[in-house]
Amino acid sequence: MNTKEYISSGIIESYILGLASPEEAGILECVMKNNAEVKAAFEEAQKTLEDLATSQAVAPPAGLKSKIWNKIQQEQTTEEVQPAVISDITAAKPQQDVKLQQDIKPQSTGSWKTYAVAASVLFLVSAAGNLFWMNDQSKTKEEIVKIQAEKKAQDLAMQKMNQKMKMFSNPDMQMVMLKGVEKHTDSKAMVFWDKKTKKVYLNAENLPKAPEGMQYQLWAIADGKPVSAGMYTEEKDSKTALANIPKAQAFAITLEKQGGSAVPTMENMYVMGEI
């Protein structure tokens, strides 16, 4: 079968209508990569059906757009809050905590999330809008890949923010600001100490990246004696408890060899903060 016969067999139209068998589709996809004529016929047939759709466009009702946005927002929120809740089962009675917080500061958590989701939706919609006006096909493909990556990154960032938000909104959570000491005056970190469960979480994203083979270790200073409060990794940041600390007057972070030390290496202390 030559190219002309192949094109006029109607396989391209079947494919676009979703009626081609998987074998036929596989063959066509392969042929298109190597045969410009088939590829052109493919583009043309798509264009025809797109023009048909454009020519018969019907203006949708005015309120529809916001209905759709609401729907997408709802999906986004439930999707993104879910994993945060699961990963944080350890936190005591999150339901009640959130409620308490809302009583104090009405709506703060809810509206924050809504705005964040709305912002990301707005951004994507506007980015998508821009890109669909571009005629350049290859550029369009690049843009779509970029958007997909951006959405992924945003989803991740959103999840992280949700986790932090949970920390902040927990009234049992005592926050201890750790400030840079001596040569590390620019460094800072934040300890979250759950007064109920005694679990200690650490936000140390502002510390310089630990060198190969080294790790940050958190110390609780209780009655003048340093007690290890766990090893920090980026994955645990603001999310996983490092240790259970029943008593402390201060917290400090030192840089130690991988796996930690029994006593802190004082000259490698980065930050410290009293409660």
């Binding site: 079947s14 209508l17 949708p60 493909k141």
Partner: protein, 158 residues
């Protein structure tokens, strides 16, 4: 994205389900689907607009089939269904369909029927072949000819 494509997708769905009420319901699902599946879109398998149209078509056709409308539609003589369907007139806004009708009316009746079955009613080519009593290969080539003709018509129409 919504502003540029909602009208076209709305039109496609309305054509398929013939009811504004259902169309409004379905198009919401369609946009949510598009949103959730945008990372699955593969540019090597077609243009983005076509991809969206197909999501709209498939969702609407699935809807029809699930609601058991399909039999009802099959039993109606096609030209009547396309232009004089009772459901269509109950939308009370037949002017919505004028543009579409004008374009397709330029086609021979058999081509109109073919496009309607495959595009708007989700018939497989085998089903069309049986229904119209023409060989499968002929269905495919006829479909191509219908779209070629449609392309010319759309050129004049624009």
């Amino acid at each position: 994205m919504y502003d540029h494509y909602a009208g076209a997708l709305y039109g496609v769905i309305l054509r398929i389900v013939q009811s504004k009420e259902y169309t409004e319901e379905i198009i919401q699902d369609v946009f949510v689907k598009i949103w959730n599946a945008v990372h699955q879109y593969d540019p090597s398998k077609g243009r983005f607009y076509t991809w969206m149209i197909n999501i709209a078509r498939n969702t609407a056709i699935d809807y029809l089939k699930s609601k058991g409308f399909q039999n009802e539609l099959k039993n109606q003589p096609l030209p009547d269904f396309v232009y004089n369907s009772a459901e269509l007139s109950t939308t009370n806004n037949s002017s919505d369909f004028i543009g579409f009708n004008n374009v397709l009316k330029g086609l021979e009746v058999d081509k109109q029927e073919l496009i309607d079955l495959a595009y708007y009613q989700g018939y497989t080519q085998n089903e069309i072949s049986e229904k119209l009593k023409i060989p499968l290969g002929t269905v495919k080539t006829k479909m191509r000819n219908a779209l070629m003709k449609l392309k010319d018509l759309l050129k004049d129409y624009q």
